[in-house]
Symmetry: C2
Subunit: 443 residues, 2 copies
């Protein structure tokens, strides 16, 4: 009864007058008009700009819809880049020991440094970067995706970003959510005020930075998701040079670096001279230690990288990490230490060998069928040119006829139209079976 | 040499002309002037507003500075609310089993749902909320602090927030970082465009919402950090009524709920009629399962909560979770399942008993010395009135004379001046020893 009365009063007052402002505010309070069914809080307009849901849940939704109609379907997923092989023994032991320590008073630990355990930061610096960057430049986290959001929180709404097109959707989506972009242009499928740098077979899937408009933040991913192509040293030298000339910050996503097998291809942007003055590197244990569900990544912010006013970028990123993050799980960090032991590194190499062999099987299959295939030698993804066919149509076609889940290139941006991404992370037998089914569909 | 040349060109061009804009942009590119030592990217102005570092690293810095000068000091920490007791056997077994599953092909799992494992969402709904909220309203995460940032990312920069003063610093700091506030007023130590709702001994440390200016987002924490006081049912009914009348969204931080022992005191905002139309609840396993370093929390966003335009808040929060988070660690979620088993719940009760007994020892000590003490019966914190003394001075005094780390009330906002927060999370013997030392300092 009391509640109904309150509602009633509210409805009467409506949106025209603020009915309850006993304390004057120095700034005007928002206009609002709560109704019986809504609050009076304005929705963040940036979310309304977002077209559709985040890509991978959308793929899962379509897969589940198919399964509902075809409950007996035997679906093979070559879609999301999700590891399927168990965590090898030495790394697993690291995780188990991490748990074990929490069970005894003498070894128990609670909150750790938000930036990560000192020994892990040291090992990352030493084992993975050969000392190119120092431990205090390493911020350990729960994954690259989360770090990209945290970088965006640091950059704020006033920067202009540039992305490879196609690209991992998180760069664009988080830029939209942060208010850096305008509306989606329905014709081009691009958001205003974000630079889409075309990547296609003609330019080796690496953008022509020289002829792209300047951006404050340039996102590059190598080995690339979704195209599977790793940038050469020359390409990266050029990118660093241009970013330095233009005063851009290069956010380099190296989450697939250990898959690189071609000699001379850089595994870190910090192999490039001058990168410490312009680049941030985002990285992850997910894809090669079987840690997709375990959650461990890191971001390198060099001490020498500065905003225009001279403030070290590291200082603000540290503020983000300490204020809105509480460190990666101590159990998981213990697993990370095990990954970087000689035994762990050997296990990781074996896992990568396994997934790269999968990539080769997929690549060979499509090549033999006469398709142009990219990637797959230095990355766990292959990118197949569809000879002009629509990528969402092909996705649906393959799902229905072969019961295989892939990812349409267009899901990674308008530049991905006409391509299909296939992940090499499925178990070997599934990859082989999927190839058999695909041959039937495409021949 | 090549690099020097690039720098040279850049210096010559200076900030007056954009020297490289081959592709016209629909929007003007930012003005910039990279120099040899900085990028051309403007620092996010919201970060410049932040006064000092995040509170707890600042406390750690002062503690370490003291230790450097006094390397033989035997410091006891009653500062940050960090658990010290080992994880009990049944919960530990849950974590070990979580790891074990990742070592076998049959039980291995990679990416899970970003919103959390279905069985954990179900158990949280059933065991902790007795079905008051449904599993699909639960978003499992890596902790309450991280979720508050994600909520802020959803709210964006245009909302006006209200906080209890004193309060957990993350609400204010993330509001500043998101651009919701103005500058810090040096005189009041308050940021413009954020409402500080006074909480003190006179009002039972619960704000007078009726006489506070309307805000879009109202942060309430009960049992409260830092005051240790739990809100009564009547107070919360009043808060829900006012938030509904005003169309405000109430963000209720219930991270200490299981410490509540006083009958009739609500453990969840959803015990209050009407809360599902106006409230979000942030929660955590950290403090009572020994999970501070393990990282597991959750946020409840009711399906019926809507923005002014009718968009379900849950829809946008789901977009944040799927786009910029990748799920809590699967190992840790397995630990969460064990927490919610009957054996785990029994272990949690024993841990809470232990910490509450610590709180009683601390409370009794200060009471006997003639100080006004608040909290500690339904929360792991006690809040001590300092009889007019400065809280930072008292903090330093206690650190130097007793080698005990506390937290100055002023660290939680200007309203905390004149108080000291003590955490009950230290081991029993340390609490007893700290009390002996404090008696010497204060008498």
């Amino acid at each position: 009864m009391k509640l109904s009365l309150a509602y009633f009063t509210l409805t009467l007052v409506g949106s025209s007058t603020a009915f309850f402002t006993p304390v004057p505010s120095t700034l005007p309070t928002s206009l609002y008009s709560a109704t019986e069914t809504t609050s009076g809080v304005q929705r963040n307009g940036n979310f309304a700009k977002l077209a559709g849901g985040y890509l991978f849940p959308e793929i899962a939704r379509r897969r589940n819809a198919f399964l509902e109609k075809n409950p007996d379907a035997n679906i093979i997923s070559l879609g999301i880049g999700d590891t399927t092989q168990p965590i090898p023994p030495n790394i697993l032991k690291g995780l188990l020991d991490g748990v074990g320590k929490l069970g005894a008073k003498e070894t128990y630990s609670g909150y750790g440094a938000e930036q990560g355990m000192a020994p892990l930061r040291e090992q990352i610096s030493k084992v993975l970067y050969d000392g190119l960057i120092s431990p205090d430049e390493v911020f350990v986290s729960d994954g690259a995706k989360c770090d990209i959001q945290r970088l965006q929180n640091m950059f704020g709404s006033q920067v202009r970003s540039a992305v490879q097109d196609p690209s991992y959707p998180v760069y664009v989506d988080t830029s939209v959510m942060m208010g850096q972009t305008g509306e989606l242009n329905e014709a081009t499928k691009q958001y205003d005020n974000i630079s889409y740098m075309e990547c296609n077979a003609e330019n080796g899937f690496f953008p022509d930075l020289e002829n792209s408009v300047r951006a404050d933040v340039v996102y590059l991913c190598s080995p690339n998701n979704p195209t599977g192509v790793a940038a050469t040293k020359e390409q990266l030298e050029n990118a660093v040079r241009i970013c330095k000339e233009r005063g851009s910050i290069l956010v380099f996503d190296a989450a697939y670096a250990p898959f690189i097998r071609t000699p001379g291809v850089p595994k870190s942007i910090f192999e490039i001279e001058g990168a410490k003055d312009c680049a941030i590197e985002v990285n992850s244990f997910s894809k090669y230690a079987g840690f997709t569900g375990v959650r461990l990544g890191w971001t390198v912010v060099p001490s020498s990288l500065k905003f225009k006013d001279g403030t070290p970028v590291k200082q603000d990123f540290n503020r983000v990490m300490t204020t809105s993050f509480n460190g990666a799980s101590n159990i998981v960090q213990a697993g990370g230490m095990a990954c970087l032991s000689p035994e762990g590194m050997k296990e990781i190499t074996e896992l990568i060998d396994y997934y790269l062999e999968n990539a080769k099987i997929l690549s060979d299959t499509f090549t033999k069928m006469g398709y142009d295939v990219y990637g797959g030698t230095d990355a766990p993804y292959i990118f197949v040119g569809l000879k002009g066919a629509s990528s969402w149509d092909t996705f649906s076609d393959i799902l229905e006829k072969a019961e295989v889940v892939t990812i349409p290139g267009a899901g990674f941006g308008p530049g991905g139209e006409g391509y299909l991404r296939l992940s090499a992370f499925a178990p070997r037998e599934s990859v082989v079976e999927a190839c058999e089914r695909l041959k039937k569909v495409f021949s």
